[in-house]
Every structure is written in C-alpha cells, then in structure tokens.
Symmetry: C2
Subunit: 189 residues, 2 copies
C-alpha cells in the first residue's frame, strides 16, 4: 500500500494500527484519530473497433512501458461512470471518439491493487491522432497486432479473446485474476 | 471528492491546483509538490444462493441504512481480487462461506464516486450468523424478499434481475449507471 506519513486531516504524524473491529492495519492519526483507508484503483479503457474490423491501439509516450502498445485506458476519475471513463481515456490518449458498448473484460491485479475494466466500443470516425501520452495511434487487423510489444497483460489477454470470440460470432464478458508477471517482475500489470 | 488539508507525504498544507498536462484540479502540496490523486472506490459483494434457491440477506447494524436489508458487500481492500473481496465480505457480515461464481452486475454511482460489483455465489452451508455489522442474517425466497426495505438500489435492481433471469433459465452479466436517488437524496447508494 502507498506510504502515508502525515494526517491529511490535521497534518500530525500517522501510525499503522489495527482499529477496533477491523481486520487489517490502517494508517491512523496519533493526534486526531482519523483512520485513513486505502483501496484498489480502477483502470478503465476501450476496445475501439472501426467499421472494417480493425482495432485502435496507442503506443505509450509515458512510463510504465514507454514505447509499447496498448488500448486506450487509464485511472477512472471521481464523478464519472466507468463507461464515461473509457470514452474520456480514448479521447485523451488517441483524440478518438467512440460509442462505448458492453463491458467485455475485468482483470483483478491484487499485487498492485488494481482492477482493470475494458469495454467494447465503436470508433466513430478516423480523425484520431496521438494525445500527449501517446507516441503513435494506429488501426490494426488481428494479424497486424504487435503481440510481442503489448504493454499490459490484461490488454493482451482481452484482445486475444476478443478476436477469437469475434470469429465465433458472439462476445461474452469474462473476468480473470492475474498473479505478478514471472518474466519481468517490475510491479506493473 | 474527499477534502485533503495536509500533505500525507510531508505534512505541509496542500492546495487545489491544475497540474501541467492534467484536465482537472488536484490536491497539490505547496511545499514538496506531490500531487494527491483521488479515485472512485469499489464496493464488492455476493448473491449467496442456497441449494433450495433462497438468497441470503443481512440486516444492517451500521450506518448508512441501519436496519435495512442488503446483500453482503463492502469496500474492496488492497491486495485482494474482486472475487476474494466478495467472499471476505460474506464471511465478515454473515459468517457465511460461499463459492464465488461469475460477476453478475456492475453499477456506476458517479455522484458518490463508487462502482458496485455483485457476484453470483453458492452458499456452502447453513452455519451463518450475524457479523458485527449485521443485526440479522436470513434466507429469503423471491416472494419473501423485503423489497421495500432493501438498503441500496444496486442490490435491489440486481436481485430483481436475478430472479427474473433465473426463472428464464440463464444469467447474463449486466451493467447500469445510477443518478442520485430522487426520493431520498442523502448521498448514499
């Protein structure tokens, strides 16, 4: 969990303590007593499909995984729905407009306190371009997808299943839990 | 969003500011410069079904909605998967053991910065009892469900759909977005 040193409420020092009736240690302010909970974050994105079946991917201009390809996705913000988050991230990272469809995949990544949600979506026009967090944005057929340079496993697994199910003619939401990657244990997805 | 007054990193005062390349105001430390992001929280729970078709509900011993009925659910914790969170909450609130099945519903509640996930599940035995956050725990047939005293709309909508789909013989994951309740605008779900 993220390290907390000072109380966001009163500025005094905090300590790790087991609150009454709780089952895990929390950061608790030694002065004002406020308990500071920390919880997993949602990463939300889209699978933008153009009318010819190609999928839009972004090449990352930021860490982690600078230079690798991914679906447009990012941290869900307060005040928005999951679908709105997916559309916003697509607009920010690819300057692309999508109609968000059904939720397609959910991955739990407990080792980094994240849950990833990816939605099916229709790309509405071809006026896309790299946002500030992207080096390139491009459309790919299944065989063109750069499978060896996909940034995150939930994106790779979701795309693999997406193409497989599309060939079979129907999509079904799926969820999966991921353990830390064994090859590159760098605390990313 | 939650109010942040002092920097958790250095204890100095924070201010609301638009960071470079960002699209919304964040709490930023005026002294050390750390940006403190705030994001939606996941509420995760189970729909525990006994072998005779009855569903386990808990009557809340805590606010919000003290005294009303709900499915076992609560804030997802760091270090666990969504399915583990659903099983843990069921154990804590109802001392009940479940086998977690497929994700059944997702509700976005942007006005309180929450996403609710409810999983289908099998109740494994009848040795349940109220946890510290519950007044009562009981099994209900569809006609026995206390529809007028269900604590949260995502729980009510999920149970309605669950029984309807069960009658038709197949379950399908669904998601929905909720606007603030109009009848009792009390900033809860």
């Amino acid at each position: 969990m993220a390290i907390l040193k000072y109380c966001p409420e009163c500025g005094a020092a905090v300590e790790l303590r087991l609150p009454q009736d709780d089952h895990r240690e929390r950061y608790v302010c030694a002065t004002c007593g406020t308990i500071h909970y920390q919880n997993p974050k949602l990463i939300v994105g889209a699978i933008p499909e153009w009318e010819d079946g190609r999928i839009l991917l972004c090449r990352r201009a930021i860490e982690p995984r600078h230079g690798l390809w991914t679906l447009p996705a990012g941290f869900m913000e307060n005040g928005e729905t999951a679908a709105e988050a997916a559309a916003r991230e697509t607009l920010e990272e690819a300057n692309a407009r999508v109609a968000i469809g059904e939720l397609y995949s959910m991955h739990s990544l407990p080792y980094i306190d994240q849950v990833h949600l990816l939605f099916r979506s229709q790309l509405l026009d071809l006026e896309f371009s790299p946002g500030v967090e992207s080096l390139e944005v491009a459309l790919f057929t299944e065989s063109e997808i750069p499978w060896d340079t996909i940034a995150f496993r939930p994106v790779k697994f979701t795309l693999q299943r997406y193409f497989s199910e599309r060939r079979n003619g129907s999509f079904h939401f799926f969820s999966a839990d991921l353990a830390p990657p064994t090859v590159k244990p760098d605390h990313h997805a």
